[in-house]
Symmetry: C2
Subunit: 152 residues, 2 copies
């Protein structure tokens, strides 16, 4: 058996031990399977990351995993539905999945298709309009689009 499970839900735990990842999955209501464990290891084994489905697929293959494209998509969607990942929409071409699920914002460098986290406390949204009647705020996203500076 395993010792006391850590009930840290929305936290950027650097889970890298297999049992921690397994715990993370089952706590999220997902059955612990090899594919999910392996992808969870890639996703959550390092610090915060932003991945596209294809990039994760490549990474899995490079790591010697035998995982189909469909499983990568399924898994990302399930992790997202389970609240383990956040989906970020900044580029029309593809979706990014962010392992940081705490409230925070993003820089986006379109030329490099690169996302950079901004901690929530680094942005101060002092005033927001009232929501239209019948609607509630789900989430406030601030996206700062960046360009490379012209050379001096």
């Amino acid at each position: 058996m395993i010792g006391t499970p850590r009930m840290r839900l929305s936290e950027k735990t650097k889970a890298h031990r297999a049992d921690e990842l397994a715990d993370k999955l089952s706590t999220a209501g997902l059955r612990v399977t090899q594919a999910r464990l392996a992808l969870a290891h890639l996703l959550f084994g390092q610090g915060d990351r932003h991945v596209t489905a294809d990039a994760l697929r490549e990474e899995a293959l490079a790591a010697g995993l035998k995982i189909s494209q469909a499983t990568v998509y399924n898994t990302l969607n399930q992790f997202h539905a389970a609240g383990l990942l956040r989906q970020v929409q900044v580029d029309q071409a593809r979706s990014y999945f962010d392992t940081n699920i705490d409230a925070h914002h993003h820089f986006y460098v379109e030329e490099e298709a690169r996302l950079i986290d901004i901690a929530a406390q680094e942005v101060d949204v002092a005033r927001l309009p009232d929501s239209p009647k019948g609607y509630d705020v789900d989430r406030v996203e601030v996206i700062i689009r960046l360009d490379k500076s012209p050379k001096a």
Copy 2:
């Protein structure tokens, strides 16, 4: 079909007269063609709008225009490149084009795939982080994602 009055006014308001639209196009560096004029009429003839390519296609067909899908895409992209439209990225499935090109923000109701403008002055972003070295801020976007309120 389109008789062409040769009046060239320099107006940049809510253009809805054919010559105003033509002027808008040529000022933007675009050749004035029937397809562009017709789509410009649909896009800019009414107040601010948010359209998808497909919705605009439908609208054009409903208005009796003979316009191909490719032309709708080409035109939207050209208008965007020319600064006449802004592209809004909130849904992975499709791109929105916004006829309001002034700085402003958006509510987005995912369940209804609906965008609602928020005037710039209704949001106060009091503090922003410094951009990473070598990058400049192109644009700051605030997206407020809404859910339908639960029924009372």
